[in-house]
Symmetry: C2
Subunit: 666 residues, 2 copies
């Protein structure tokens, strides 16, 4: 024996963190002292199994170390117990039970890390680093003792201080009533869930799983994703129609309902909260978990959905100056929002950007991360309004454009919601002008053998409308101004007079499924608004070209971007650089659920996003008028022309470039 205790070299992989430790040091303790990321709920008691590691045997020249199996202590009784009961991973040890007896290389598997990285499906989006706000801590609490009188809660705090170095902890008040029973049921050992500095849930003994719910409150549908806060995994998803639809199909009709029916906002608040409770219960059942283990919920929605969910009268959002009651992130006990999950569960509502650009757009930004991009990125979320975000890491601009609900099939004569029987794809023969189409619920085209002719064709959904109008343009049925050309009647019976204008009949029936001149106008107004908003932001940023476009939301997922560009919904861009980002709002809610830093990030970010109110921008009106034609400017869309054969342009009356514009374009 020497005077100095013998030291051993320990290298942790994959991080490569290394240090010398006295023989006999515990592996978990060594890891902690080096800052190696190893999880533990039980705090080194050998019962949670979170801290599993394995010894890497052999010579590691890179690290200058030979790692031998005998350099780690024998399995303890606690490890055998854990292995019997719950099973250690093959070849793994509990780091809290293993002692260092000589030089070793210790591998920390991903499962044992606190800050796991969640791989997202699309390669072009960033990874979610798992770092939830709420974490579990197992503690052994001192028993009540007459000789040392102190309250049970004070002894819980003391245990958290001594066993986890957590200071200044608070207990969520409604949990106080359960504390004594839980402590005694757990024989003075309990697990607590700590959110920031507050205990928001507790269980007798060791408890290892907690969950969170990410909720996207759309005007039409509400979607909830149940996530495991330890693995980040989506355990179950559930969706439902927004029950507010019975008070008004679109946002403005819901605001009108409140104006006409004082107290109507309270009814709408109640039904949306109830639906979210139902979704939570449904998702919990699907995943086979206790709804009381859902300790967090994050929520996103457009400003009207946001206000109605929070119990705020949305009437101010119905007219200028469109003032939000608050745009700040909301952090409240979920019970204050009538969400019936864990008693102390916390709700986080993402911040809004402006009166028309809500928490849903903030979530889209979080998901698509234009603020982390070097390149300028355009993110468009099309719903009843279109929210548009443009910029990069240096600067972000946002606006909302009043597209109206035409893109969702509303205000279109044969329009309908995306549902079985709706036309979602269409092609028009350039010669015969005969259509062929696909309907939702059937994988075949209407001219294919497998097509189900028995399913009634009920209408045209949003993506179908974009395609049919674009195809009509590409087939020469409508001109650049959007006028249905009556002379085409000579070539097909599908063009029928409709008063002074004409319609194109896709399918005869009672009634016909057709596209009227009014339908074309509605689409023109909608797409002009969308384009004008984008153009306004481009002007502000001083750019004339975009090379990265993300289409968010259900609309963005279903439309063929080529057709969107033919109609001029979005600026010219290489088609390969236009992507659907799927349910980006839901993804943003999930990011906020799983990563504490993302909340700070988005709260900071929304403050710095420059909001542009299209209603007070004269240039918006100019862009709008100019954007009515298909595609609004024949001189442009050069990149689109590489992909699609556009009809010969003729200068339109409404889209006619002014002298000034023409100059600027050169």
């Amino acid at each position: 024996m020497t005077d100095k205790p013998e030291q051993a070299l320990v290298v942790f992989t994959p991080s490569g963190q290394r240090g010398h430790f006295p023989i006999g040091t515990g592996v978990l303790a060594a890891a902690r002292s080096l800052g190696v990321d190893i999880d533990s709920v039980c705090g080194g008691r050998g019962i949670c199994g979170r801290c599993q590691i394995s010894l890497a045997e052999g010579e590691f020249a890179k690290h200058g170390i030979i790692s031998r199996p005998e350099n780690i202590s024998e399995k303890t009784a606690a490890e055998d117990r854990y292995d019997d009961k719950r099973g250690l991973m093959a070849g793994h040890r509990l780091s809290c039970q293993s002692k260092i007896l000589g030089d070793v290389v210790i591998d920390v598997p991903a499962q044992s890390q606190v800050h796991k990285q969640l791989v997202r499906k699309r390669a072009d989006t960033r990874v979610i680093e798992l770092d939830p706000v709420t974490r579990l801590y197992f503690i052994e609490v001192g028993e009540a003792d007459m000789h040392e009188p102190s309250s049970d809660l004070e002894r819980v705090y003391k245990a958290l201080q001594l066993q986890w170095q957590l200071d200044d902890i608070d207990l969520d008040f409604p949990l106080l009533a359960d504390l004594q029973k839980v402590l005694r049921k757990g024989k003075w050992s309990i697990t607590v869930a700590v959110h920031d500095k507050t205990i928001i849930a507790m269980w007798p003994g060791l408890h290892e799983s907690i969950f969170g719910l990410a909720v996207d409150i759309g005007s039409t549908t509400i979607a909830a994703h149940l996530c495991d806060l330890d693995s980040g995994e989506v355990m179950a998803s559930a969706g439902a129609m927004n029950p507010q639809i019975r008070f008004g199909e679109d946002l403005m009709s819901r605001v009108s309902y409140v104006m006409m029916n004082p107290g109507g906002d309270a009814e709408m608040t109640k039904v949306v909260r109830q639906t979210i409770c139902d979704l939570a219960r449904e998702a919990a059942e699907t995943a086979g978990i206790d709804v009381n283990d859902i300790v967090e919920v994050t929520l996103v929605g457009n400003p009207v959905m946001h206000h109605l969910f929070l119990g705020i009268d949305p009437v101010e959002l119905g007219g200028a100056p469109f003032a939000l009651a608050t745009g700040l992130a909301i952090k409240q006990p979920a019970r204050d929002l009538d969400l019936d999950i864990a008693k102390g569960a916390r709700a986080y509502v993402l911040p809004c950007i402006a009166g028309h650009v809500g928490a849903d757009t903030a979530a889209v930004v979080l998901s698509e991360a234009p603020h982390k991009s070097d390149e300028i990125m355009l993110v468009v979320d099309v719903g009843t309004n279109a929210e548009i975000v443009l910029g990069n890491k240096d600067r972000l601009l946002a606006c909302s454009s009043p597209t109206g609900p035409a893109f969702e099939g509303a205000q279109i004569s044969s329009g309908q919601r995306a549902a079985p029987g709706a036309i979602e794809r269409i092609r028009i023969d350039r010669d015969t002008l005969e259509p062929r189409y696909k309907i939702i619920g059937c994988d075949f085209w209407s001219d294919e053998d497998g097509f189900d002719h028995d399913t009634p064709v009920t209408g045209i959904c949003g993506s179908g409308i974009i395609e049919v109008v674009a195809e009509m343009f590409l087939a020469g049925i409508i001109d650049q101004d959007g006028l249905i050309d009556g002379s085409v009647q000579a070539r097909t019976e599908r063009i029928v007079a409709d008063g002074r204008t004409f319609s194109y009949v896709i399918k005869t029936g009672e009634p016909d499924i057709a596209i009227t001149q009014n339908d074309i106008r509605a689409i023109q107004l909608a797409k002009a608004a969308l384009y004008a908003g984008t153009r306004l932001l481009m002007d502000r940023l001083g750019i004339d070209e975009i090379n990265n476009i993300r289409l968010a939301g259900a609309f963005g997922s279903h439309i063929d971007v080529k057709y969107a560009m033919v109609l001029g919904l979005i600026p010219d861009c290489d088609l390969k650089n236009v992507h659907s980002s799927g349910n980006a709002a839901g993804t943003g809610a999930r990011i906020a659920l799983l990563n504490r830093q993302s909340r700070i990030e988005i709260e900071q970010l929304v403050k710095n996003i420059h909001k542009i109110e299209t209603a007070v921008e004269p240039a918006f009106q100019e862009h709008f008028i100019e954007a009515m034609a298909f595609p609004h400017s024949s001189a442009k869309y050069t990149r689109l022309r590489c992909a699609v054969q556009l009809p010969q342009g003729k200068t339109s009356a409404s889209g006619k470039p002014t002298a000034r514009k023409r100059r600027r374009r050169r």
Copy 2:
């Protein structure tokens, strides 16, 4: 004109703060820069009238200044408006409107100070410095503007920052729903009540009065005092029986009720909260204020009352080790306790000291302030249990002693609560052994002409019981051991045999009002417990004598301290140093309501109070046995003997000092 702006000397009285200021400086601004305490709700807009000052005219040799009326600017239009509408105090000015034109002495009246000193009635107690946690701020909020989109709440925060230098403010969530309407109703001027960093109430325009409620939840009665948070004045008081009485007369029977009736705690929680709501409404009506202007409530009560009010099952308090769920101060929105006052009102429940020594005792400590005393002070609060606090600024000890309810008239054959018809005072003639007495509701003694012989004498209340037993001892009817001396039957017919023992009949009737041997025993047990508790604390503190005794609570207010000492309830002390401190628990609740620092003070203090659990102290039992006699030790009570002629002592069997004790006493 010189290069430097001319300076004037300004002296503020009564503080004597002084400084030089450029001619034209506003008086309020000058005061602020010197840290002179001048109130203002409107922030210098000349509308709240809180900042009134007067100019002191003449030569002030002490300050080296001649103060002339012309050295202050003329009254402004705003002051005239205020004077017309609400009236300035005679000769007063609004400091926010007055400018310094030359050397002046400015007097700040007490009414204009934020930190007013509240004078309490008893001279021996400390003054309450008025410094409530909640304060009002009038703000002018920027209007919503499409060109600069920001939410209403963000503009409120900005106004608080710019106009009052308040950063990091939060809005209590349920108020968010009202924000937009209040802002628009007040035409973008509102008053907010800020509690710590949270807006807990708001009103359109200027609002100047907010109130708080101090509540003392006793086992028998609940008392509420409504205070003006600006003046500190008690506007109204209201009291009611504790409705929990129907579940059990005393604490332990209520705990038993819960044991026998699962869910019984919830019923008791509900009724006590409801009663407090009723008291708040009643007090508000009496004071003529809106119950929604009550923005704070402080509450005290013994541990069982504390737990039941908070919705915590009190069963753990019913048996060893008497563990509190929590002893920490509770700070919650009042709505979480079902208190129906201002929507955002805050409740503060004082900390508990131990499982038997509750928030009521903490309040008594706050009121009597033994921790600020140089001299050792004994504070005794007698109820069903007696809470005892002993010590001074260096060290405080506390315990609870199981006196049982005998002192409250329970378990006494003719005992009753203090109510009209109850005997509250009694004297026994030393020769004839005839009693004379006073009953509650009549100002005359029973042998005086004005005595109302028609009012039925219904029983004996707590203070009457102390007196009758003490008088029986002083008259020689009972001996030092508490035995009713049968031989006295020879002298009076009022001594009647009662099985093997005797009773003393005060008044014959159906039934007789009498004191039985069992009654004497009950009083002996109670007073021995009380004395033993005190003695235990004295032992721990190593003292043998006390020169300052405070008797708190209703019992302490009504008993004649001389008789309490004759019976040996409290240690020997000069009678002039024994004081009733009245409703000290209620006073403590009021201090916590009116002074923010007092909350920190008591929270710190309870941590440092040494708690002694009598049940585990062998010495308690010894003291208890020894203290059964009247007064327990004839060798003591020398100071009492100066005031009262005690009967010749004979050494009692039970009270016989042991050899060891005798040695220690020398």
